[in-house]
């Protein structure tokens, strides 16, 4: 109904419509261009990039750059490729996402269904923590991680990502549970169900969508983080983003653009796949993170 009435609201001529499509397509090209550049140049021999046209399809197709980027390229001291760093990222991301999502769910539950005096201030403080520039915590964080003997470890990075993800995960679940009928909770309490039982039996089963949104949001943020990885990780805990930056910016030897592009796609792949598979939820998370209330 509303879609049909939209038609009547806007009258556009044939020329105007052609122009609209042209503009939309030009922007589609603009957004796809860097991805195209990365893809076609990641399967060219280095000579062809140097001599040839970056926007041309490869004359000589090779997957050598991908093999190099994954397993052989020199990053740091060892010619290990990006593989170990990819694994570092996975080992860091998975626990960080699970823990912060669980805590966010239970926090959201308390802040909406078991409100106590001052719950608004607690939530406000957690919410503001989403937006702080992380530079303000870098110096003390480095000290604390050192004191806890977690400096340079994956555990340290997990802790950091859980703490600075809590604000967002709590926000997501709070807003979701806020719309959940409180009468149901009240009825369950009268029937003698306790705090955890209600959460487990009534709220969790209907939390599917918001869990997906939160997991995607956290996964994307933690995987894409660079600042914490660059500040607090050692060789054996460095995440993918840091390794990619080291690969691309290392000034020794020839610049192997094709290997850099293959590496960049490898670093982008997990979040890109998540986006392609569940774009709808990804967008919903972005919006929930932006538009409060």
């Amino acid at each position: 109904m509303s879609a049909a009435s939209k038609d009547t609201a806007l009258r556009t001529g044939v020329i105007a419509r052609a122009l609209i499509y042209a503009i939309l397509l030009v922007f589609a090209v603009f957004y796809l261009l860097p991805l195209f550049v990365m893809l076609v140049n990641s399967v060219k021999p280095l000579e062809e990039i140097r001599q040839g046209n970056m926007l041309a399809f490869p004359e000589l197709f090779t997957i050598e750059p991908w093999i190099q980027a994954w397993g052989e390229a020199q990053i740091g001291v060892q010619p290990t490729g990006l593989k170990p760093y990819f694994i570092n990222s996975l080992v860091m991301v998975i626990p960080a996402v699970i823990i912060s999502t669980l805590l966010g769910a239970i926090n959201g539950y308390v802040l909406t269904k078991w409100q106590f005096p001052g719950h608004r201030i607690v939530f406000g403080l957690m919410l503001f923590s989403c937006f702080i520039p992380f530079q303000i915590v870098l110096i003390p964080m480095a000290r604390i991680l050192g004191m806890l003997d977690l400096a340079g470890t994956t555990y340290g990075l997990i802790l950091v990502h859980v703490v600075y993800g809590l604000g967002f995960t709590t926000l997501f679940f709070r807003n979701y549970y806020d719309a959940f009928p409180t009468e149901l909770i009240r009825a369950a309490t009268i029937d003698g169900a306790g705090f955890f039982r209600i959460f487990q039996r009534i709220l969790l089963p209907s939390s599917g969508p918001i869990i997906v949104v939160t997991v995607i949001w956290q996964f994307t943020n933690v995987w894409n983080d660079f600042l914490f990885g660059a500040s607090f990780a050692d060789f054996d805990s460095q995440p993918m983003t840091v390794a990619l930056n080291n690969l691309v910016s290392s000034s020794t030897g020839v610049k192997e653009y094709n290997v850099h592009f293959a590496g960049a796609i490898l670093a982008a792949l997990p979040t890109l796949i998540v986006y392609i598979v569940s774009g709808r939820y990804f967008v919903r998370g972005l919006m929930a993170g932006a538009v409060k209330g």
Binding site: V110, N224, F226, M287
Partner: protein, 290 residues
Amino acid sequence: MIERLQTYLPRLVLSPSFVLILLFVYGFIAFTGYLSVSDSRMLPSLGFVGLENYEKLFSLRHWSIALKNLAIFGILYIVICTVIGLGLAILLDMKIRGEGMLRPIYLYPMALSFIVTGTAWKWFLDPGIGLENVMHLWGWESFSFNWIKSREMAIYTVVIAAVWQSSGFVMAMFLAGLRGIDNEILKAAQIDGASNWQLYRRIVIPMLRPAFLSAFVVLAHLAIKAYDLVIALTNGGPGRATELPATFMYSYSFTRNQMGIGASSAVIMLMMIASIIIPYLYSELREKKT
């Protein structure tokens, strides 16, 4: 006893998270705040020096370059993202065939790491192998695009890459706003003889006020925090031409052994963000109350 436990249990469950936030966010802010008035250099030190670090900070040429760059970058980034985002949203909202194809294309950069974006644009904008070279090969011999190598223009390449990454997201925010507008209002205005242009200028755009506000807040805080993209794209160079407050803070705190000054720059960054975020959150949370 169980009754009492039931009343305190929720608070007990929330408390680990709350304590973590209090300590790791607000405690750390206080600690960095103190460092900014201390004589810390290579390591944190507790000797009180008053506002000396702030005086030094604002007399540093590096810092004024960083602030100037932030102003250029921030304003262009916010304005261009808003214009492109709003424009694309309005066009996409005109019953476009293939909208389902176009929207994900506009939005996918948001899923990428800034390091990936920086790498892609760094080589694409490189005059030797990238766009300039392509144009030369296509026969446009006089084409020149070496912004990324130029002290004056490099900051604008950061704008290009950042706009590429975020404008699709702004589009999605405006599109959601547009879809929320009641068509009856538009129809009524049209019956009154309003043209398409008037319709947008007088009715639609004013009704998108909340989307404008959200877009501004998100973009402004991303601009102030911008770090990864500059590191990957230009590494602050050429020279220090693309230094931003975030890169300044990092280099002064951890590589130049001027931790007190680094801490004071972090405090300034926090104050910039707080002045945008706190009024916004305050009004959002208040609205919910009523």
